[in-house]
Symmetry: C3
Subunit: 334 residues, 3 copies
């Protein structure tokens, strides 16, 4: 990461709050892990289970909970502390503050890069940033402070809310995958996708992810949804507030995912299903039925060395008949 | 969706055929589901199993089969009807007609957008459209009426047939993944990919999908193939006519997929396999062997709540030894 | 593939070595398989198991091992030979030589295409090529002879080594997927990604693949790493030398993959895991734990016809209880 010009703990606490223990004059120039930190670094303890790292850490300052701070002192930790109820959340806010100080930026400093192609009747909110080589088609709407990184496509009629980030390569509003079969010729006849995409505020969409436009109604992502890279969202999908999808997830058409859900990387959600709020799907699992109840769900074939896998996989194809053989043995016992 | 200026049933039937029952003067301004329709909407009944929706539907007109129309009347449906043998196919054609009327369009109305980068000796058929910020490399060929949406790459020497649609972010003709291992150094030595990509007519390729060029011969997609978003087609793959692949599918090098196949989202087809015509692979299944016989094939680990999955997954690693234990018990019975 | 102006075996052997058996004046204009070759073609025998193809092959010349050449002669093969220890490696080098002769090229012949957008303080090595419509953000570094194909994004502060190839649509340095949960509101709070991406030399990255920048430290790909298309590499992943990943693989944040590994298409590696050197993961397998030992690992649900799969999948959900029933039967025997 880029170092800051050394900055005092006092200025951090003044911006982000928290109680400073030790010298608030201490100068910090980097954020790093407790393990790697030196005396000019600030670090954080996200969970008490990592508290053993205090003993050897050379960090100049640690962000910690009040309870863990006692552990730090007991372990002989020499640095200063910033005490707060949720150190990981504080760390997140610190990274945001840090970025503003260092002003990391892309190739574009202007609001609308001159190489971006903007269609007709496009509505842009205040302080919208559109990166180099983006395409914003006719009648698209982008809310205040939203950022399109370079090389994003926003299709016609699609709406993006306020404070969103669309990363490079994102495609919003390509046609949904809809065809009717001509039963006589076996050809696929295109169903024109007449809906659009509506994205709420504070939504972030990762690089090269795709959100298809709806067939008749719109595809919808509610406020605060976070999508990682290379995700496919089919037409007419609806994703509830503050739901997060990890990389390479595919959500088929018309699936309805609740609020505050998480879906692990590479998982697949089939079409026309409903997932309740607070449903958590493990990575690489396949959701083949609706889920009405909050909770954690998984379906992964366990990894094994090749030879063991092969034996078990072969036997798996006989599993149902094995069940019948057990039944038979049980009946013989009666 | 965008509303039409109200248009009469007569003009729809005049363009698309079908028998109009009731007032052909009725004015329609939207297509929507039977459930949500109001009196200025047209809807459709794709299957008799949804016929119960007739009772409460306020649709101004429904596209239906003759047999289902009786059900509609019996259920007290008040609207008009367009009777046809295949309502879903009629609906598809209606969406096409609708789009032409509303002239939804992207940022580009010119045929070749001025920001597109076109190489040397490129051959373009009549009425080809190339969107903003596309790259068409040297010696590429694009057939009549094909459309490259914004930000598509078409590589050198690659051919696209007539009436194709390539969505935003598509990459045709990147190098196939070919390396020889230098057994002495452990390094990978690049095998230059000297083939190209040949795409037939009426092919549609979804956003951010990739079709690699062949190593020596070409990678081939035959007429009428439909690919969804984020699909990877390896070098020297051959896909037969009217086969459709859903989002996030990966097809490894030199696989040969027949005609009229469907492959569900997130499925993987390994390299050098052959699939017969009319093979249907379920979503997220992994095709590890050639399939000689038409039919439906699946391989998905069933989703379960976390705790149940964990117990079953652990036991799965002992499955082969469980089989042996059953065998032993059976032998003891003899 | 593009034919060469006929070129003599002598010129090939002079460039690439090997012992020429038969007329070195023979003119060659194409590389192709033994099966399809005609007398003006050169072919290769990568493994003795394909030696039966010699009998009917019309190839003008074959690249073969000394031992296999005897088989060729015994089978009545009439063509010339180039004898070498590793014919497949020789073939790879021949494709490279061939490409240089035919000078296949993209739309761009200039080193930096005029439509590319280059940020401030970017450092470019000798003979770097940047294709049309690329974006290279501020402070990025690209080593000598590396090639960015059209429509690549290289983010700020990211480093690419020498002799690399980044294919069309690649995104290097988008933000890693990092959020802290605000436990009070249920909202995700962005953790700014302050690290960058460091890519070694001789790395190739396939179309539309994404390498995220690190949260605090950098994401690292060592020398000789080869990535296929549509691959997702999360923040702070570290991939060792000469490791190759096939298409559609997802590697979650902070995973550490050793050197000389291979990961099959569509596989998923979960976050914070370590894989030893020389680990080989089968396609579509999910790596849920660290692997300390070199070897081959697999976890795929076997494909079956739909009806069989359904019966076995249902039974799989009872597998743990089946184990208990077997145990019970065994105890009854005692």
């Amino acid at each position: 990461m880029r170092s800051l010009n050394a900055t005092s703990l006092a200025s951090i606490v003044s911006a982000l709050g928290g109680d400073c223990i030790g010298s608030s004059e201490l100068l910090i120039s980097r954020i790093t892990s407790l393990e790697n930190a030196i005396s000019s670094d600030i670090s954080f303890l996200s969970s008490p289970k990592y508290a053993s790292q205090f003993a050897s850490s050379q960090a100049g300052c640690v962000i910690a909970r009040r309870a863990d701070w006692q552990t730090a002192k007991a372990a002989g930790f020499k640095g200063a502390g910033i005490l707060t109820d949720d150190p990981y959340l504080y760390f997140a806010k610190l990274t945001q503050w840090w970025k503003r100080q260092t002003q990391l930026g892309g190739a574009t400093t202007s609001l609308i890069h001159p190489t971006a192609v903007i269609g007709q009747r496009v509505q842009l909110g205040a302080e919208v940033q559109i990166g180099a080589l983006c395409v914003v088609e006719d009648d698209a709407v982008i809310g205040a402070r939203s950022i399109l990184k370079p090389r994003v496509t926003l299709g016609s009629d699609c709406h993006v809310g306020e404070d969103c980030i669309l990363h490079s390569g994102v495609v919003i509003g390509a046609d949904g995958f809809g065809f009717a079969s001509n039963k006589v010729t076996g050809e696929w006849v295109k169903i024109e996708q007449l809906g659009a995409v509506r994205i709420g505020s504070f939504v972030e969409i990762g690089a090269n992810s795709c959100i298809d436009r709806g067939a008749l109604e719109d595809t919808v992502l509610e406020d605060g949804v976070k999508l990682d890279n290379l995700i496919q969202i089919g037409h007419n999908v609806h994703i509830g507030k503050h739901t997060a999808l990890a990389g390479c997830v595919g959500v088929a058409g018309s699936a309805k995912i609740g609020a505050h859900c998480t879906i692990g990387g590479g998982a697949v959600v089939l079409g026309h299903l409903s997932l309740a709020d607070h449903v958590h799907i493990s990575a690489a699992s396949v959701v083949t039925r609706s889920i009405r109840k909050a909770g954690n769900y998984t379906g992964i074939f366990p990894l094994d060395d090749n030879a063991s896998w092969e034996k078990n996989a072969v036997t798996l194809k006989q599993l149902h008949s094995l069940r019948d053989r057990i039944k038979k043995l049980e009946n013989l016992r009666k």
